[in-house]
Symmetry: C2
Subunit: 520 residues, 2 copies
């Protein structure tokens, strides 16, 4: 049998994406020139490699007639290729370029190829899990740490197109629901209209990012955020709307004032909202947003998690944090509760403090929240709101039908009866998601017995859930103030795969492993 | 609104079951008389309580007109009530009966009410997880340890009726498939025909049990199994067909010769087979058995797990076990592989050695096997073969439809197109099962930080999976040579709930928590 997929066309399009990476790579290059603390040669070399490799890949085939199958392949390969090319600056900075430039970050954890790949995949998938224990300009330079932030912002742009324009066209895992209630910008086929939608959404994405940068820097200029200079304002703007979670500050958002933490909360919330709805709201149709049943469910979930955490923090034992005691302090309890609820539910992964130090009940709530995820059509990962909503409604129906076997009861979303195929697709997705979680957790639990550190169950489970769900930090050693470097290389490579598969909604990647995809 | 469920009828029927418990309680009473090493007063007192309590409950209502809803409630309450009454001998033996009899097992771990309830629920649900570190006649008496075995045999009888006669009538969680390919003994309603089917299946159940007892005792009489006396032969017969896994030997089946281990393998395999199919095969229709697609899948799964384990054991590092080295020994590798594969896949939970000492890859295979489960209509627990088969077929269909969106492709089982409701029900079951697993695992991981022992991820996850799936042993401290006593009481109570919910196929218990069940 012959291969029925025009993989050459897919590869050629990946080449175009890789070639275009040279443009954003100019940003850290400029930063390297400005600060002069390292990374210049690394970015010049990476731009050269990206241009050469991208051009070579472009010649593999003709991407003018791309079908859905080629789309699957192209999307999956794009994240892989970008992660490989995007890892080069880390490697060049750590090892230098023989005969051309010396290493500018010789002590960097990113000098290991597996570590560098992990960090870049974590960036482009907007996961935010890091292998770096030492996050500092002294070791890494301003340019390298900005590139790390930028990978998330670029990854977020990719996700926006993927989630709003491409996935809904592929009726896999209930993805057709992703645009269910968003009658606005939607696409019929992989046609030029994608470009149109993408432009609109990218405009919203970039605009809100800019607004956040301006607000954060404004706080700095007005004396409310001493350490939120322009670099930090830009760096955090790049990773909020992407639900990324990387920070050039080792202690994440704990490093900043309470008012900075409050300002970031609504931006995380927006990042977990369907971008098509945001676009509609920005263009005047706020009814579309507030009438959307996924959005209402999302508000309810974030509100419930916030309320639970606030109650637990307010009444809990006093925690020793830089910004003062939390127990008994209503503002601080609400702030950390709202921040952590928004951060984990949307899968951003920022931390306003080390929640691994919280009480058992709070940790339990947060751990479960790792599986929730943002809205469909957002940059958030994990299972996602619309799927949980449909599963809850469907389970209710299932139990109702058990009691009333004669009843014929469709699952309704926003007043509309759902196609049973979509319901089944969502179950299939969730079953595979949890099967992956369990399988990977057992692998890591056993694999990690080879290392010196003894991992707790929470550490093992949360590291898997946080990478598969593109959340970032887990608990304990892999918590918001921790890092992933000490894990065995095999576990880190598995997690690279989990971040990749999780980001691409699992099933589209599994499709690539079927014979039918290639042959029939 | 008024309650629409005739709960009084359900309670009355539970009373009848409790009253009938007095009959099997005569067996340990007879054993106590024969051995004279304790437990006599405990069983006399329990029989009196069971008779009185059962009679009192019977007067609560009139069970002549039982509908499906009353059936749900009755089934759920029966396992609870039996576990409470069944725990009494343990408590009476540990504490004595004030003014009547002294304690005969004063040092027993079963003296704690939570421990006693855990052990009894573990018995009646055929889970086989134990709180006892010290399993010996010296501490507990022959009668008490026989009652422990007998709870599993009785639980198995209950499961046979539940699985083959009651659950298929309730179209919940794909349960309607449980009899899909078994056109033989099936029931239209909760009518006297249940009694007819139950009698046939119990006959097979008791007959195969008897055959195993005879074979095991025969090995003893012919000098092939020195420690497999009549007591041990009966004790293990009672817990094999029930996929129970309790053993009066602290080291489980490792205590016996290789030939005993070989003989038990096919009985575990039969225990994980649909009893309706066994009945048909015994009455001459072997085609029904070998043509059944679930049975063929089951054979394939057990065969694959056996082959994987045998390869790993044969080529692995030498293990130090009583019966000699395993690596390089084909017979020993095959024996332990087949034994452990059959034991874990069917959720029996016996161990021919401490598999927690095996290599990482073998442990990985076994851990995943904890989720597999026996066939529908067997006494095996966990997710069960037919559900995995349907999920695999449905996922394959899901991926196929992704590539060929125009295709309309039903899921086929045994040549028959499945109802989409059944497919969805199976997904719903599996999603809830894994959600319970994750939720309970996080609870236990946090709850267990209160105790002295530091649990590994494998210990936490396997203890939850092994109780929810009615498997019994997990890994490490809760492994086949370990026990559950040291866990916090809250965790043990959660596990009592997991064993109960897992045994009753999860969804029928969830139904009881809905308003619609009680009111509409
Ligand atoms: K993230
Ligand atoms: K068992």
């Amino acid at each position: 049998m012959t291969v029925r997929v025009d993989w050459r066309a897919s590869v050629a399009l990946v080449g175009t994406v890789v070639k275009w990476l040279t443009v954003p790579l100019l940003a850290p290059l400029a930063v390297a020139l400005y600060y002069g603390d390292g990374g210049l040669a690394a970015f010049v070399a990476t731009i050269a490699v990206a241009f050469a490799a991208g051009s070579a890949l472009e010649r593999v085939g003709d991407p003018t007639d791309l079908g859905a199958r080629e789309g699957f392949l192209m999307v999956a390969l794009t994240w892989l290729a970008a992660s490989v090319v995007g890892a080069l600056p880390y490697l060049f900075a750590a090892h230098g370029i023989p005969g051309v430039a010396a290493a500018t970050a010789p002590g960097s954890a990113l000098g290991g190829p597996v570590n560098a790949l992990f960090e870049t995949m974590s960036g482009f998938t907007t996961t935010g899990a890091t292998v770096m224990e030492d996050i500092s300009f002294e070791t890494h330079s301003h340019a390298i740490l900005l590139w790390r932030q930028l990978t998330q912002w670029l990854g977020g742009m990719g996700i926006v197109v993927l989630a709003v324009a491409i996935l809904p066209e592929l009726s896999v895992g209930g993805a057709q629901l992703m645009e269910a209630e968003a009658p606005g910008p939607s696409i019929e086929k992989l046609t030029p209209r994608i470009a149109e939608t993408a432009r609109a959404l990218w405009l919203a994405y970039a605009g809100i990012t800019l607004l956040e940068v301006v607000l954060l820097y404004g706080l700095h200029r007005t004396g409310h955020a001493p350490n939120m200079g322009l670099y930090n304002a830009v760096a955090h703007g790049l990773t909020t709307m992407a639900t990324g979670g990387f920070s050039p500050e080792a202690r994440s958002i704990e490093a900043f004032s309470g008012i900075v933490q409050w300002v970031i909360v609504p931006f995380m919330f927006a990042a977990g909202t369907n971008f098509a709805l945001i676009w509609q709201a920005l263009t005047g149709d706020t009814d579309a947003l507030f009438g959307d049943s996924e959005f209402r469910f999302y508000v309810g979930v974030v509100g419930t998690v916030t309320a639970l955490l606030a109650g637990l923090l307010f009444t809990g034992p006093t925690l020793d944090v830089a910004v003062g005691p939390i127990a008994g302090n209503l503002e601080a309890s609400l702030r950390h509760a709202a921040f952590q609820a928004a951060s984990i539910v949307t899968t951003t992964g920022y931390a306003s403090m080390d929640f691994a130090e919280w009480g058992a009940a709070s940790q339990y709530v947060l751990f479960i929240a790792i599986f929730l995820g943002g809205s469909a059509g957002s940059t958030g990962g994990a299972v996602k709101m619309v799927r949980w909503l449909v599963i809850l409604k469907s389970l209710k129906r299932e139990l109702f039908v058990t009691i009333h076997p004669e009843a014929v009861e469709p699952v309704r979303l926003g007043g509309r009866a759902l196609d049973e195929d979509a319901v089944r697709g969502i179950y299939a997705f969730t079953a595979v998601y949890f099967a992956l979680f369990v399988g990977a957790t057992v692998f890591v639990a056993i694999d990690a017995t080879r290392i010196e550190e003894s991992l707790t169950a929470l550490e093992v489970m949360s590291s898997v859930a946080a990478t598969l769900g593109n959340v970032g930090p887990g608990f304990g050693l892999v918590g918001p103030m921790g890092f992933y470097e000490f894990l065995p290389a095999t576990t880190k490579l598995l997690m690279v795969g989990l971040m990749w598969v999780g980001r691409l909604e699992v099933l589209p990647v599994l499709v690539l492993l079927t014979r039918a995809y290639w042959k029939s």
